[in-house]
């Protein structure tokens, strides 16, 4: 196989890996944080802690967070952290803040009457959340979550700055070697293919939640 092509495939797979890892962390913990900070459930202390976390993560650049994760955090245990692991964790931690905001807003947007209807029908708080609130919330927050996923894929492009061989870094290194800037275009097209595919998958998922259209 052409070594250049192989490099680009490796770069794309790394980009996908970092994005997927970050997405798993961001979506899982972000949903939990969003639920714990919504009006109906939040305890003041937990809600405040999540608010501070969101403020810090949204108020600092992802690149600075990445540098802190790689160079400052390991000082706590006088060790080192693998850049790829650091990249995945950083992008995941960053994503938590955005997903939490989206989920919190989605849950708060469900009318109080839905919680009350579930209560008079005997649902527990967890049951209400799982069977009544979250399915309705998903429909309203799905577009925002899809945007967050696409942003997250694009944000992986800064990982190259700390030595992770992802797609942008592969393109940059290739241009340095060949002096042919069209390799940036190749990278852009590959990003487009990934985000376009995500968009298609998202449309399919979105259709599943459209209970109020097309019947």
């Amino acid at each position: 196989m052409n070594p250049l092509l192989q490099l680009f495939i490796t770069g794309t797979l790394t980009t996908l890996g970092v994005a997927l890892g970050g997405l798993c962390i961001g979506m899982t913990l972000g949903c939990i944080a969003g639920i714990l900070s919504c009006r109906r459930i939040a305890s003041p202390l937990v809600a405040r802690a999540i608010q501070v976390y969101v403020f810090v993560m949204q108020g600092t650049p992802l690149y600075v967070q990445l540098l802190l994760m790689i160079y400052a955090l390991p000082l706590l245990w006088h060790g080192q952290i693998n850049p790829l692991t650091a990249g995945i964790i950083t992008i995941g931690l960053n994503s938590i803040a955005y997903v939490a905001q989206i989920v919190r807003g989605g849950i708060n947007g469900i009318p109080a009457g839905q919680w009350e209807a579930a209560y008079v029908l005997g649902y527990s708080s967890v049951g209400t959340l799982w069977y009544i609130i979250l399915p309705q919330m998903m429909r309203s927050v799905l577009p925002a979550l899809i945007n967050e996923t696409i942003s997250l894929v694009k944000e992986t492009s800064i990982m190259g700055a700390v030595g992770i061989i992802e797609l942008t870094k592969v393109a940059r290194d290739t241009v340095s070697r060949t002096l042919e800037p069209q390799w940036y275009l190749a990278a852009a097209l590959l990003y487009l293919a990934i985000t376009g595919l995500l968009g298609l998958i998202a449309q399919r998922i979105e259709r599943k939640f459209e209970y109020d259209k097309g019947h």
Partner: protein, 243 residues
Amino acid sequence: MIKGTNISLVYRQENSTKTVLKEVNFSISKQRITAFIGRSGAGKTSLLRCCAHLTTGYTGNLMVNERPLASFSDKERVHSIGFVFQQFNLFPHMTVLENCTAALTYENVVAPNTIMTRAQELLTMVGMYTYAGRYPHQLSGGQQQRVAIARALMLQPSVLLFDEPTSALDPESTSMLATVLKNLLAHGITVAYASHDMQFIAATQDRIYLMEDGKIIDEFDREQQKLSDAAKIEHFLRVPLSF
């Protein structure tokens, strides 16, 4: 059935308090229709919400079948008292049939085919079986309300409470609701509602409590004739009460 003695309720906000119920005494008798009437803000909805345990923090004694409501487990409560909301609050992501079967399916005690049979029977009773596969947004206000009634009846409560049952209905649906309420009585279900729809109240009640400013200021009972002189109720309804 449900008996309230000296029920008071105070809403506390940051810098103020509002007394919405002031030592209210009432009784919702078995297999009869009890109407709580009065202007907006009189405390009718708050009283019904206390009866359904949707609002807690009241003082006084609220007994259901001679047991304090507060001592009921969640399961006992939902199988004793059903509630139909002013805006119906159907679950928009579920079909009519799913709305009806959801609570019992969640409870996981009754066999699935029994749940399905019960849902079919109740939807037929309220005339909504042909709409079983539709979603709430595809139904009119009156249809949504009938689904909400069927959904509440799935848990076989002995009393069904309605908050402002006619506020979202057209005249045709209102007269259909009156028929449904009488049908519920025939099935042994006690009914109580809060309303300020004078025509509906005049057509469907066995007992009326007139509320004003968080207090019951007059009451009327069709069987026991007038408990008080009921003049205030007649004035509110603008029609003479029939016996």
